[in-house]
Assembly symmetry: C2
Amino acid sequence: MRYLIVFLLFISSQVTAQVPALYNHVSNEVHLLHSKVLQQDRQLYIQVPHLDSAAANTALPVLYLLDGENHFHLLAAYIEYLSHWQVIPPMIVVGIISVDRVKDLTPTNSVLNFSGKVDSSYKTSGGNEPFLTFVQQELMPYVEAKYKTSAVKILAGHSFGGITTLNCLLTRPSLFDAYIAISPSLWFANKFVLHLTEKRLPQLALANQKLFYSVGNEDGSFRQDVVRFDRLIKKGRLKNLEHRYKEYPAESHMSEPIPAYYDALRFIYKDWKPDSVK
Amino acid sequence: MRYLIVFLLFISSQVTAQVPALYNHVSNEVHLLHSKVLQQDRQLYIQVPHLDSAAANTALPVLYLLDGENHFHLLAAYIEYLSHWQVIPPMIVVGIISVDRVKDLTPTNSVLNFSGKVDSSYKTSGGNEPFLTFVQQELMPYVEAKYKTSAVKILAGHSFGGITTLNCLLTRPSLFDAYIAISPSLWFANKFVLHLTEKRLPQLALANQKLFYSVGNEDGSFRQDVVRFDRLIKKGRLKNLEHRYKEYPAESHMSEPIPAYYDALRFIYKDWKPDSVK
């Protein structure tokens, strides 16, 4: 019996010892959510701000972030820091971890890569519809049941995540209040999203949504497609869509998200004041 | 006895239960280091990159960050992300947590605030010398004993942390390879650091150090002092100091660190390539 106690004490101290003190003044939790729509478990990184007791009951906006495995840490740091200094409101960040990103983050099936060559890694492409259905019907209710959320929702994505964001704006315009598309891969599937923009933009049922989109120093045709998208947006003169386009000639496709996500947050909350309700 | 076991099992399971799964693919550890020089315990946040087994033996540069409690999360995210995409090398980030920041991060004693009024919260000011001695004689040896570090060291600070960085450059120019001073409070103590720059810059024993400094939209005299510092640096034509000055007219004193720390890292490593040794 004595041995058992020693053993249990040993386990107990081991458990403690294996958990080093971590810098973590926000809650960055890993959640697992089963999706019936996608028929798979989905991993989520969720950052929830620590609020003063006076503000503990505040309803929080939620930023839904595609490619969470790449960009969660960055967005989490921005949002924690900017909200601490009252530049933007405190909000929840939900990073959606990719399982098959080519599948989830493309609007239609195409096996052609940027160079126009057949690429077998693209064969699962075209899953935007079920993925966005998962976001709307399963992920949002999960987050809204678990936390005190306000009505404000933001969708943010980069590259394939960028075309997913734009596809969502064009097919479910009222699902989010703000859309962020960093270097959207508009070339994909014979410029599928660019054509969709041309077709749907004039009739889009908007209600003061915000849209930020950008491009880095990617080669000519990649950038040209984003410039074409920008022309369509500007030509549209949509009263209920506030938009900003920014080019980052000094940034590559992979470094651009750092300044661009920052500028996107500042754009979305440019009129926000600390005493605003949302 | 049985109760004791149940109790121990309970403790054991509690310890486990209190540790939610956290998003943490880097090691963000909290260290406590006793300083004989300062006669106090100092808390540190340390991020160490997870390297592939092939790279596990790489000697890492170290970035020492003042005001760690404010900026660690941001710098940790930048460095993790940029090194993952091979824009900068993987490196260790050491965030020094403030105890009495007015004391540690000022070069001389002065009780006058920015408006020239006596401010009792400034009465402990003037502790740069013992603080930098702590960094050199205790903190660096601690970090270098604990991790496999390269010779490359960076010092980064904002506001009072910015004048501390510049004071370190002027008084211990070879202690770091690169110095980052975001909106240094050059007004402090009748422009103490500005006068020191005028006096010491011409004789400074430099060996290819790098210096990044910047200013936001602070009011006129704050910015004017940084502009004066910039003139001294440019007038100096120092062969062994590569410097960059950047102004952020759209950023406040507190939001400026976000773009400025990013630009500082890109400046310091602008010539770095993934196959570089350091």
